[in-house]
Amino acid sequence: MSRNYEALSAFLDGETNDFETRRVLRDLDRDDLETLGRWQQVSDVMHGHAGMAVPVSFNAGLARALAAEPKPARRSGVMHGFARVAVAASVAAVTVIGWQYWGGPADTGAAPVVASTDAANDGVAGEASMTATVAAQRLTRPFGETSLVAQSAQRAATAEPRAVASGEQPRVNAMLLRHSEFTARHSGQGMMPYARLVSMDARNGAR
C-alpha cells in the first residue's frame, strides 16, 4: 500500500494548512499512527531526550529507528540516505515548532485567556501574574525535557535544572496514579487525566 509520508511529515512539521491538516487527520490509520510513534522516537533521540526515550543505546536506537523507516515517497538515488536523515531532523524540530504552530495563532485568534486579577485575589495578585508570565515562557521548552528536570526549590533565580533521582520515580508514579484517579472522578476534565497517566507511565517506562 502506498502511503503519503510526505503529507504526514509535513503535518508533523506544522507545514500543512488547515485543510491539509484535517485531511491528514481524517486519513490516519493504524499504520500511520505507528509511523508517527516511530518518528516521535527518532525525534526524541535527535532532540537529546535519549535518557527519556531510548535510555541505553542512543546510537543503536537511532540506527534501528532509521533502518525501520520506509523510504519516503519520491526520494531516491543519491538523496536516499540524506533524505532519511532529513526526515528525522525535521521531526526533531517539530517537537517544538509543530507545537507552536498548533497551539499558536491559528487557534487563538480571539481573546487570550488572560484574566483580570482584581477581585479574585489579594495584594499579591500582581506579583503572581508576573510570575505566571515567566512560567509560561518556561513552558515553551519541549516537554520531554521538563519531564526530567527539577529545579531547586530554594528560590535562587539562577538555579540550574537538575535531574530527579531516578530512585524516586516509583513514589511519584504512585502519586500520579492517585492524583489521576481523583481528578478523573472529580474534575470536569473528561478523559484527560487517564490519557495523561498513560502517557506519563509510557515515558517513565521508556527510560
Binding site: R22, R30, L33, E34, L36, G37, Q41, T95, W102, G103, D107, A110, P112, V113, A115, S116, T117, A120, N121, A125, A128, S129, A132, T133, A135, A136, L139, G144, T146, V149, A150, Q151, S152, A153, V164, P170, R171, A174, M175, L176, L177, H179, E181, F182, T183, A184, R185, H186, S187, G188, M191, A195, R196, L197, V198, D201, A202, R203, N204, G205
Partner: protein
C-alpha cells in the same frame, strides 16, 4: 470586565454557530451524560508539548457499571482500566497497580459542574469545527484569574462526546491536547474487552484504617479562590512502603493533590518538576519533632502551586 468581554464574544460568535445553538450549560450537561453513559471506541492522539502518543479508548456501561480502557498503542504497552469502582494501571514493565475506591457517595465534581459552572470560569460557545470527520461545536472555558488553566473543547454535535480537548495556559498556549482520529459509537463491547492481561507482578494501593491516619492533618494556609478540600485518604503500596496521606483540592475543574509522608531526615531533595500542565513540588516540613515530605501534584500554574505549598502546614494531633 472579563465576563462582559466573554459575553461580547458569545454574541459575536452566535451567528457562526451551531444549528440548534444550545447554551453552554446545556452542552456541558450533555457532554457529561454522553461521556458516562454511551458505549464507544476510538483512537486518539494525545499531545504533551511536541510529543505525540497514540491511544485507544473503549468505554461501555455493563450492568450499570462503567468500564473504560485506555491503551497506549505506540512504544511499550501501558494500559489504564476503570472497572466499576476499581482503577487498574498496567505499567510498561509488565506489572500492575490497583486502586480500589469504594466510596462513591460523594457527588462528583463533574456532576456538580454539569449543574453549575464554577464561578471562576467563563464558558462560552465560540463556533463550530470538525474532528475525526465529525461536525463539532467549539467551546471555551476561560479562567478569571491566573490560578488555573483554561480549556478549549470540541463536542460532537451528534453524540455530545468530547472529541477534542486542550488545556491552555494564560497566554493561550496549549499544554496538552486530546484529539480523536476515529470514533465508533456502536462498538459492541462486552466484558471480554476489559479483561486484564497477564502480568508478572501485582500491587495495590491499599487504604489504611483511619485510626492510624488521624494524627496528621494538613492545614492549607492559602488556597486559590474557589478551591476546596475535596477528599482525603491514606494509602500505602502493599508491604513496600509506609502509608502516604493524600488530600485533594478542586475548584470543580482544576485539581491538585497534596501527599504527606513521614521521612527519616530532612536530607531529601526538594524541588519542582513539570510536564505539560502537571506540576509536582516537594517540600520538607517539620511538625511534632518529626520530618515530613509534602508533595503537591496537580494541574495548576507553578506560581500558584508554590504559593499553596508555602502556606501549607502539617499538624500532628496528640495520641488519645
Amino acid at each position: 470586565m472579563m465576563r462582559i468581554l466573554a459575553l461580547g464574544l458569545t454574541l459575536t460568535a452566535a451567528p457562526l454557530a451551531i444549528a440548534d445553538s444550545l447554551p453552554a450549560q446545556t452542552l456541558l450537561e450533555r457532554m457529561t451524560e454522553a461521556t458516562q453513559e454511551l458505549d464507544y471506541q476510538g483512537r486518539f492522539l494525545y499531545q504533551l508539548g511536541g510529543e505525540v502518543s497514540t491511544m485507544e479508548i473503549r468505554h461501555a456501561v455493563i450492568d450499570g457499571e462503567q468500564y473504560q480502557r485506555f491503551t497506549h498503542l505506540d512504544g511499550r504497552l501501558v494500559e489504564v482500566l476503570r472497572l466499576g469502582d476499581e482503577l487498574v494501571c498496567l505499567h510498561p514493565n509488565g506489572t500492575l497497580t490497583r486502586i480500589e475506591d469504594p466510596d462513591q457517595n460523594l457527588l462528583s465534581f463533574r456532576q456538580r459542574l454539569s449543574s453549575r459552572i464554577p464561578e471562576q470560569y467563563n464558558v462560552l460557545v465560540d463556533g463550530d469545527g470538525r474532528v475525526a470527520g465529525r461536525p463539532t461545536t467549539r467551546m471555551r472555558v476561560a479562567p478569571l484569574d491566573n490560578h488555573r488553566y483554561g480549556y478549549r473543547l470540541w463536542l460532537d454535535n451528534d453524540s455530545h462526546l468530547l472529541l477534542k480537548s486542550e488545556m491552555v495556559d494564560a497566554s493561550g498556549l496549549a499544554l496538552e491536547r486530546v484529539e480523536f482520529v476515529t470514533l465508533d459509537l456502536e462498538p459492541g463491547l462486552d466484558e471480554s474487552d476489559f479483561e486484564l492481561p497477564r502480568v508478572i507482578a501485582e500491587r495495590a494501593l491499599e487504604t489504611v484504617p483511619a485510626s492510624r491516619s488521624d494524627r496528621i492533618h494538613l492545614e492549607a494556609g492559602w488556597l486559590p479562590r474557589g478551591f476546596h478540600a475535596a477528599e482525603g485518604d491514606w494509602r500505602r503500596v502493599t508491604a513496600e512502603r509506609r502509608p502516604v496521606a493524600a488530600q485533594s483540592y478542586s475548584d470543580g475543574l482544576a485539581t491538585f493533590t497534596v501527599f504527606v509522608e513521614p521521612v527519616a531526615s530532612a536530607d531529601i531533595e526538594e524541588g519542582v518538576s513539570r510536564i505539560g500542565p502537571t506540576v509536582a513540588i516537594s517540600r520538607v516540613a517539620a511538625a511534632d519533632e518529626r520530618t515530613y515530605l509534602l508533595t503537591l501534584v496537580g494541574e495548576i500554574p507553578q506560581p500558584t502551586a508554590e504559593r499553596v505549598m508555602e502556606a501549607l502546614g502539617v499538624k500532628v494531633s496528640t495520641r488519645p
